[in-house]
Symmetry: C2
Subunit: 334 residues, 2 copies
């Protein structure tokens, strides 16, 4: 069976360690913080039986030794150092990660571990809490886990398939075994999507909160303000790293939003503002009324990059990889 | 004691009827819908004692006859007809209303009931449900109720005080008796504030939902999308009436939001996008972290238009009017 190391044991890494062990994978964890390592060791021991659910290593090299898959679960600024340690240890397995932007991580891996078999990932799971103490083996159950395939154009380059599909299917198999829904994406598709669905809501929330959060407007504000600005309470350093780190994808998404609001403004100054703005509101209303997507029928799909990326573009996901790796079990939105 | 008629018995009007009766005001209700009138009559009777909590009239004229204060609780498009009936009945008491824009209502009153002693109001209370069946006498407890004073400039015009402060204090006394927090505002201040705290969140929600609610982004979308777009699910006709009806105040608020987002865009394309956008995020983060405002110490304020409007501009509210009407009990945000 595949052996996995998880490098970084915060909320996501710790939950991944627990979920992998529960799914039966031989697993080893590492965290730069000795107290976190001690907590993870303590949690691994089942006193009555004497069994240890997972191993906790004292270095990246020790954690990754003899493992087939190493998952980086550290914040983006800490990734370079971990990649350097993997390179120094001569790691030759598959490298994955769980960071929230995919293009910048791929660039870091190319710079620090140029021969890596890298499959970028992003579990769409989070909590208000953080740290190993908050980790939960069921965190990924029925949650989407974006998993990167290379850009279609790059697959036919003479240099060959930078990411062999077999490695992608190995990671997909592991993640679906945790109960997650694997959505195949290119790094660019992922970064464009999260710009719209996560980074724009953060910018809009801060703009509205700054304009209306205090004085008379703040006293009159009620439900639509409360929900529309909730994420403005997130730490600015975190949001800035997220937005600034994804600037190439966020800037065009922001341009589209500014253009949409400018169109709403034009309609509000037209001869019949109510009718004109009503037509502008309908597409967003329709999209939100149909969200979140519900699962359509289950199908078997050929396990090729083209079929997988088409599935992801349609908002679909896979729930299993066939043992022979020729097909995957796929679900499209209803 | 003041006698009050409530014209329109939906969620807000029905709750107002119940709250007034519970506070001891002789109260009469009217609704254009006979079934609603029947339900309101049924709810008024306390079978064991034979007492009737409020009267239900069969016409606007009958409801308003011999009452000191008539409160319009109908949607904006229905207001003209009710005002015409009040005019035809020769009503000479105070007219108030509970609609969500204050400038347009004031214009309607001026057109249909030119001699009215009109005090515009807007309780910042709502529910997902509507209709008399959902009405609740505690709906206004500890909720803000914006109450309009005339524009400062107009008070010194030779034509005199269009809204005598005495009438304003009568309505404020009545509304505070229901447990509401009365925030004094001009119609323009109110309409500008709700453009920012309510109408902008609706427009931003629809823009983001239209861009990211379906396909791959819709499948990846999680918490920040869910909350940031919640109000996009509201009926477009309702949102359009609200936004389009407040276009003169909403257009400048929208211009400010577009300018703020353009500034964020400029920072995202600067040499250090993370640091630059972080500074942009801070004011919204600070405002949202301090919202909602908490009550500061209670003070007594002179009951003059200048003092009252200054209180409202600071985000404050009053909780009582002194019996001699020389002072009010006021609270500013902490």
């Amino acid at each position: 069976m595949l052996t996995v190391s998880v490098l970084g044991l915060g909320l996501i890494g710790g939950s991944l360690l627990r979920a992998l062990a529960r799914a039966g994978y031989p697993t080893c964890g590492y965290d730069a913080d000795p107290a976190t390592r001690a907590a993870a060791r303590e949690a691994a021991s089942d006193a009555p039986t004497g069994k240890v659910a997972w191993r906790v290593a004292d270095s990246v090299a020790d954690a990754a030794a003899d493992t087939d898959l190493a998952v980086l679960a550290v914040p983006l600024p800490a990734a370079s150092a971990v990649l350097d340690e993997l390179a120094h240890a001569g790691f030759t397995g598959i490298v994955s990660d769980v960071t929230s932007v995919k293009g910048p991580v791929a660039e870091l891996v190319a710079a620090h571990l140029p021969d890596a078999r890298h499959i970028g990932g992003h579990p769409m799971a989070g909590k208000e809490v953080s740290g190993f103490a908050a980790s939960d083996p069921t965190l990924f159950t029925d949650r989407v886990w974006a998993l990167c395939l290379p850009e279609p154009g790059r697959r036919s380059e003479p240099a060959g398939d930078a990411v062999p599909l077999d490695d992608w299917l190995t990671v997909a198999e592991t993640v679906t075994a945790l109960g997650a829904r694997v959505t195949p994406v290119t790094a660019a598709e992922h970064d464009t999507a999260v710009a719209t669905i996560s980074h724009l809501p953060h910018l809009a929330a801060c703009a509205i909160a700054a304009a209306g959060g205090s004085g008379l407007p703040g006293t009159l504000a009620a439900g639509s303000f409360r929900d529309g600005t909730r994420v403005a309470a997130s730490p600015p350093a975190l949001v800035a790293a997220m937005c600034g780190g994804n600037a190439p994808a966020l800037v065009p998404a922001l341009d589209d939003m500014i253009a949409a609001l400018a169109e709403a403004r034009a309609r509000l100054t037209s001869p019949d503002p109510i009718a004109a703005v009503r037509n502008w509101l309908v597409p967003g209303h329709t999209a939100r009324s149909n969200w979140p997507p519900t699962a359509g029928p289950t199908t078997e799909l050929p396990a090729t990059a083209d079929h997988l990326l088409a599935l992801g573009r349609a908002g679909g996901w896979l729930t299993a990889v066939a043992r022979n790796r020729h097909t995957v079990t796929a679900i499209r939105p209803a």
